[in-house]
């Protein structure tokens, strides 16, 4: 019955449309594997406790704190990190709205908001607030970030 008696295993992860292999400890978080095994350092370690959102990645398009998912759990799922998101409208909106200060929280915010826009292109203020609650910006640039989201949603509607 028991087949896997080891504390680690060789896994394949689908990250940013590439298949990557690594030998991981079962107790390695995805955040650790992304940064230390694959050099994908866009996911930032902040609280390491699922509270701050700076390590957010997308798992099958859903924002997940990568410090709160084991690498072995992510097998079979499609992972998107900030390195896999190139030239999205929300990235441009962050620049245009001065929504970046020190930048440490930015990758997490970008991925979370990208998922929001993909999932709910008609998101209202309440929904935007609900999604943005997941991330903390210690530079407190919250207003500019929210404006970037709203402007992106408006621009998207105009271009439709």
């Amino acid at each position: 019955m028991i087949q896997n008696m080891q504390a680690g295993q060789l896994i394949s992860l689908a990250i940013n449309d590439q298949v990557k292999e690594a030998y991981v400890r079962n107790s390695d978080t995805l955040l650790y594997t992304l940064r230390e095994q694959f050099g994908l350092v866009g996911a930032k370690p902040g609280c390491n406790n699922g509270d701050c959102g700076s390590c957010t990645v997308l798992v099958d398009g859903i924002p997940i704190n990568s410090c709160h998912i084991l690498s072995v759990e992510a097998v079979g799922h499609k992972i998107t990190t900030i390195e896999g998101l190139t030239d999205s409208t929300i990235q441009q909106a962050f620049i245009g709205n001065w929504a970046i200060q020190c930048g440490y929280c930015t990758p997490g915010y970008i991925l979370n908001i990208y998922a929001l826009i993909q999932t709910y292109p008609d998101a209202d203020d309440a929904m935007i607030n609900e999604w943005l609650e997941s991330n903390i910006c210690r530079c407190t640039g919250y207003q500019e970030i929210k404006e970037a989201v709203k402007n992106t949603l408006i621009a998207r509607k105009i271009n439709e």
Binding site: I2, N4, M5, N26, G50, G53, P63, H68, L70, S134
Partner: protein, 275 residues
């Protein structure tokens, strides 16, 4: 980084999960069931727990069910709080789920994890306490179905929750939930109340007030005793609390009692139009 090593298993059936637990514990390995894993990862990282093996339940089809049919609402244990919050199958639970943590965390936290974790609040339990819901529990003896009452679901060694089953009729009743936190909207509750009006009788369940979530018939009788004034009914309810009011860094017991009175007053106002 988690400083311990453990074995990781992801069985695809209930039987395999139960058998794995028996085999692993039979080999003297401390084993835990794993749903969303947020609490397990945090606690393992802080060296508060050190399992030798975890059994991830997310590949078990029965644990992933979220459906409503003509008779029942069925929610699998590994369904995330976001899935529930975005679903209309059980409106009171939807509202309560939406008040727990924040969205990205809810994407990972499962209903089963919230109901059985070590964090004392277990707010998602409240709607199930109010609706005579049942938990389908798997273990060495097979599966059993128990009514969720009192202060929660008691699991025996080696058991895990497979599903929560609620009578569909409860989705129709008027309901209110209230949550007060210390400061920001996202936090553990100072007082969290869920209530539902069934046959003109208020049912109410509490989290954050005492050291565990609960529903108590005597408290509901006191609140529904319309021969008394609202103030007396509320005081009678507070006098019947089953354990001391929590007194911690979140709030003093005095402040919690004050918030509880306000919350109960709002509840009566809403259900009865009492001012």
């Amino acid at each position: 980084m988690i400083p311990i090593d453990f074995e990781y298993y992801r069985p695809s059936t209930i039987i395999k999960a139960v058998q794995l637990y028996q085999d692993l514990t039979g080999n003297q390995k401390q084993t835990i069931f794993y749903g969303g894993g947020t609490e397990i990862i945090s606690r393992a990282r802080m060296n508060e727990i050190s399992p030798n093996a975890v059994i991830d339940l997310k590949n078990i089809p029965e644990c992933n069910v979220l459906k409503k049919d003509t008779e029942t609402i069925t929610i699998g244990a590994t369904v995330s709080l976001t899935q529930i919050a975005d679903s209309a199958v059980f409106p009171l639970l939807t509202n309560v789920a939406r008040s727990i943590a924040f969205r990205t965390a809810r994407n990972k936290i499962t209903i089963g994890g919230n109901l059985t974790g070590d964090i004392i609040y277990r707010e998602a339990l409240l709607p199930f306490l109010l609706t005579e819901s049942e938990a389908v529990i798997a273990g060495r003896e097979g599966t059993r179905q128990v009514v969720i009452s009192g202060n929660g679901i008691k699991l025996n060694e080696g058991e895990f929750i497979v599903q929560l089953v609620t009578n569909n009729k409860f989705a129709q009743y008027r309901h209110i939930n209230h949550k007060t936190t210390k400061q920001s909207k996202v936090n553990y509750p100072i007082v969290s109340i869920a209530s539902i009006l069934v046959d003109d009788q208020i049912r109410v369940a509490f989290s954050g007030v005492c050291a565990y979530p609960f529903r108590l018939n005597q408290i509901e009788e006191a609140l529904n005793d319309v021969t008394n004034s609202p103030g007396k009914r509320i005081q009678a309810a507070i006098d019947l609390l089953p354990a001391p009011i929590l007194h911690d860094a979140q709030a003093s017991s005095e402040y919690r009692e004050f918030v509880l009175k306000q919350a109960l007053q709002q509840l009566l106002d809403n259900f009865e139009g009492v001012s």
